[in-house]
Symmetry: C2
Subunit: 350 residues, 2 copies
């Protein structure tokens, strides 16, 4: 077992100084052709690679991006990571992942672990618990220490950082307008409690679309599901709530769900109640994931382009990391990029 070879070892072996080796490897003109050859040959033979950690310490940058997301078993988030990783690697960065598991404490701890030199900046989406508690000191502190953050999807406007979001309101409007255009008169929404910003915004889009078309929203058609029910363990309760919704509003002919799971579950309940899709009931969901594509019938969705979000977030972060320190104007100017949503029509609508 040959340990990783260092400059020092090469130097000793070849009986030259460390800096000579270093220079020779970087093709410095200071070094004679002769020794350069010799050193490079030796280095190649022993498969020399500079130690990243030493470089990080020296350069005071790690070329690593920290990602903090609520969970990874989630089509949207893993798409975002794919996008981040793609751009990061292309630009010479690595990606280190922390999961908050929707918990405030884990989010804080994870950020602390990574902020102590392990990474150059964060890309993150905020945990539900953090959003509820509205305690954002760990973000501001991180930023104050000079470590940039890019937030995506679940963001806080007040925090000074770059952001990548989808236009949830517009996307929701798009969906609801599609239902209206298809002749739906009584459109229900299945959404989350308001402290989930995206849920709130999508609800807002729903309401705006109705108002724009002179359809007065009815509170009985707005189902705000407790997000505990999002967990796989509470599908039954979710079903019951939706069944209740359908039964007490027999005239529902359109459903807009703020995520795939709600939509798929709604379709399941509809089937149980013998509501034909899309004839008697049309369904549109936010978030274009695997479920939508492969459900029966397949779901019309508002796609958020998760990968594009990740790519954009990574570009924003790396751009900032590689800003000239002199450019103070740029440093103080934060961008909020909106990634356009897209309506993908499938079988659940006419």
């Amino acid at each position: 077992m040959k340990r990783k070879v260092t400059l020092k070892q090469i130097a000793k072996e070849l009986d030259v100084s460390i800096s000579t080796v270093s220079k020779a490897l970087r093709n410095s003109v200071e070094i004679s052709e002769d020794t350069r050859q010799k050193v490079q040959a030796f280095a190649k033979l022993y498969n020399y690679r500079p130690n990243n950690i030493a470089l990080s310490l020296k350069n005071r940058k790690t070329k690593t991006i920290g990602i903090i997301i609520p969970e990874i078993v989630h089509h949207f988030f893993s798409k975002v990571i794919t996008g981040i990783e793609l751009v990061a690697n292309k630009r010479g960065y690595n990606v280190i992942v922390g999961l908050s598991n929707e918990s405030f404490d884990k989010e804080v701890i994870n950020m602390q672990m990574l902020a102590n030199g392990s990474i150059d900046g964060f890309i993150l989406s905020i945990a539900k618990e953090t959003l509820q508690q509205q305690d954002y000191h760990h973000f501001t502190e991180t930023i104050n220490q000079g470590m940039p953050i890019v937030m995506f999807d679940r963001v806080i406007n007040e925090i000074p950082c770059d952001k990548v979001i989808v236009d949830d309101i517009k996307g929701a409007k798009l969906a609801v307008e599609k239902l209206i255009g298809n002749g739906c008169k009584n459109i229900a929404i299945i959404t989350t409690k308001d402290y989930i910003s995206v849920g709130k915004l999508r609800t807002q889009g729903y309401l705006e679309a109705l108002e724009d078309h002179k359809m007065s929203p009815k509170s009985s058609l707005i189902l705000k599901v407790d997000d505990k029910l999002l967990s796989e363990n509470h599908l039954d309760e979710l079903e019951k709530e939706i069944e209740q919704l359908f039964k007490s509003n027999k005239n529902i002919d359109g459903v807009f769900a703020v995520n795939e799971l709600y939509a798929v579950t709604a379709m399941k309940v509809a089937r149980k109640l013998d509501l034909e899709i899309p004839e008697a009931l049309q369904v549109i969901s936010f978030t274009d994931g695997v479920l939508s594509k492969h459900s029966t019938p397949s779901l019309t969705t508002v796609s958020q382009h998760g990968q594009k979000i990740g790519e954009k977030a990574a570009d924003l972060l790396i751009n900032r990391l590689e800003l000239d320190d002199t450019d103070e104007a740029e440093e103080d100017h934060y961008e909020t990029v909106v990634i356009e949503t897209e309506l993908i029509e499938r079988e659940s609508t006419k």
Copy 2:
């Protein structure tokens, strides 16, 4: 913007030496109660945290695990990551993720990037292309340099390292025997080409189950799909192949698919051909993911317990990393842990 505070700055500020500060913070008895208090108060005020990179350089370990997987937008792999992250964090490690995107080159490059000091060891699942080319030098080289690897799911027996696998053969037998027990006489398998080791093993389990029950396998019932068709862009072709299978073998009454997508697609084709599930056709799939749970009908599956695989892999790796260097017996002894599969019965079987 206050930069991260270092020992040096604290020392200067308090007019003591760096080593005094260091010791005071680690509660060394060498330091007087007085200065200890003073230093700790100051450190707390300025929110001092030791720099990870410096520690890594000094200790020659990073407390970071490198994960290389083919893709992350995949229920199984993200479950595994969840498991790894869980154990890693609990044991004080971070997790850095590289995606091979099923490409040999990206796998090699990613490993090289990380192996230069960024991490202490790898947990990985091998890219398809690597399996095809059967070029494993990057694994052996990494191991020879003293960096341990734990492989999961897609593994190579010949490589000396710990491994975590599911018993694909047994799992497949379980599934096929369930179909046989339910009265199926003509069971088809939809699998991958043989170079995908898990596909091959699951096929073997299928064959063994048939033979154990004196049912002679028919080659016409074995559909080996080109894995190009696994991509979302080629669903049509996949459907056609499966439709062809069903049409030329009208007596098929059971299908065992080696992954969810094949199974869901098979069900879709079955519906098109008016084959009732589970009355006329029963379907079982390997890999328990979101699709299985929410498809119509929901799928009976062989669950691989991805999270458990991740947890075990992380434990194996960290155990090895924290082995006493003296224990050579342990060092040379590699373990292969088999995570039991479990048949989860849902609506697609009787």
